[in-house]
């Protein structure tokens, strides 16, 4: 049987991590769970360990992108065949894990992205966010010639080739979304979206507050641009 790892990046999620792990367990009792504790100052690591998850703790906060990559490195080292990645704040509904995994296991695709905009009802993001998302969605859909509706989604599943590819320096660690999808596409990986349900984050804490949306826009445009300038590097 294929071995599957569920990666849950978490930063100060002691209040919710137990519930997330429990829900994941209910849906997928046979899969290993790795919580990547990104330098939390609360009991995230302890709580997760009590719930029976493996916990890798960063010595200090390094950001979401670095946390998930730590998970990929673990998956690669331990020889997992597939990875599912789900946020630790309860935004992503674990009920959709089988939906995400099915297409990669059946080898229909290499990389599955859970989209909140395909059918299943989810929360509505704010207008400003919707405008930004629409812009990148259009841009990305043109560049990859694939229909991508939710490029910022961190709810993903993928196979071993992608795991290996993501542990190299090509992985954009600060905001791994639109440019990561483009990099994947240009490396020849197939991307597929499936509908998932997402809830608004309960704390309302988001990566996108203050001036960050502007930095995000700038960074994303720049990295999409330089990704296009780079030579296509197809992994061996």
């Amino acid at each position: 049987m294929a071995s599957i790892l569920i990666i849950i990046p978490a930063f100060n999620e002691a209040a919710r991590i137990a519930e997330v792990i429990q829900r994941v367990r209910e849906v997928a009792p046979d899969y290993d769970i790795l919580v990547v504790n990104d330098g939390s100052r609360d009991d995230t690591a302890k709580t997760a360990r009590t719930c029976g998850a493996k916990v890798a703790s960063h010595p200090f906060n390094l950001g979401y992108g670095v946390a998930i990559q730590t998970g990929y490195k673990y998956a690669l080292a331990k020889g997992y065949d597939y990875v599912v990645q789900i946020d630790g704040d309860g935004q992503h509904d674990p009920a959709f894990i089988p939906d995400l995994l099915a297409p990669v296991i059946e080898e229909q695709t290499d990389f599955v992205l859970g989209s909140r905009f395909l059918g299943t009802e989810s929360y509505e993001p704010s207008l400003a966010r919707r405008i930004g998302m629409t812009f990148f969605r259009k841009l990305l859909s043109i560049l990859t010639r694939t229909r991508i509706t939710d490029s910022t989604s961190g709810y993903q599943a993928f196979n071993r080739q992608v795991i290996r590819y993501f542990t190299t320096e090509v992985f954009p660690c600060d905001y791994p979304d639109a440019d990561m999808l483009l990099t994947l596409h240009r490396a020849g990986f197939r991307i597929l979206e499936v509908p998932v349900r997402m809830h608004a984050s309960a704390t309302g804490k988001s990566m996108h507050t203050g001036l960050k949306p502007f930095y995000y826009m700038f960074k994303m445009l720049l990295s999409i641009f330089v990704t296009l300038l780079r030579k296509k590097d197809v992994p061996s």
Binding site: K54, H58, P59, L62, V66, T70, K73, Y74, E169, C173
Partner: protein, 127 residues
């Protein structure tokens, strides 16, 4: 007027010489005491040598000023010192980017190793 363009006042010469020699000595000494890595000393040493040379070959500076179309030799000096500082900060940015990447990789490795040790300890307790 023309005279002013082609010679350097004595005070200026002395001042420039003192500064360039001091920069040179301090940088070499810092490298000797391993306070400064060789790779960072290169730009500083080159600058002090160039300053030193220009004191005795002032006409070179004047020629350079004419070549880049600046008005006064002092403009050329300021211009090049700004370029020098910019190069230095670009060098730092490159280095910081690399260091950030290295710190990231080290922290990840550290996290995974801690996890591995925990697992080994658990296994040891069970058996």
């Amino acid at each position: 007027m023309e005279d002013f363009l082609y010679t350097m006042p004595l005070q200026q010469q002395i001042f420039a010489l003192i500064v360039s020699v001091m920069v040179f000595i301090i940088v070499v000494d810092m490298v000797r005491r391993r306070k400064l890595r060789e790779e960072y000393s290169v730009l500083w040493l080159v600058t002090s040598v160039v300053m030193f040379v220009l004191v005795f070959r002032y006409e070179w500076l004047v020629a350079l000023t004419a070549a880049i179309g600046a008005g006064l030799p002092t403009t050329t000096l300021f211009l090049f010192s700004i370029i020098f500082l910019m190069l230095l900060s670009v060098q730092f940015c490159i280095k910081i980017s690399k260091l950030t990447d290295q710190v990231k990789n080290l922290s990840q490795e550290n996290a995974l190793m801690k996890l591995e040790i925990e697992n080994l300890a658990l296994k040891g307790r069970d058996s």
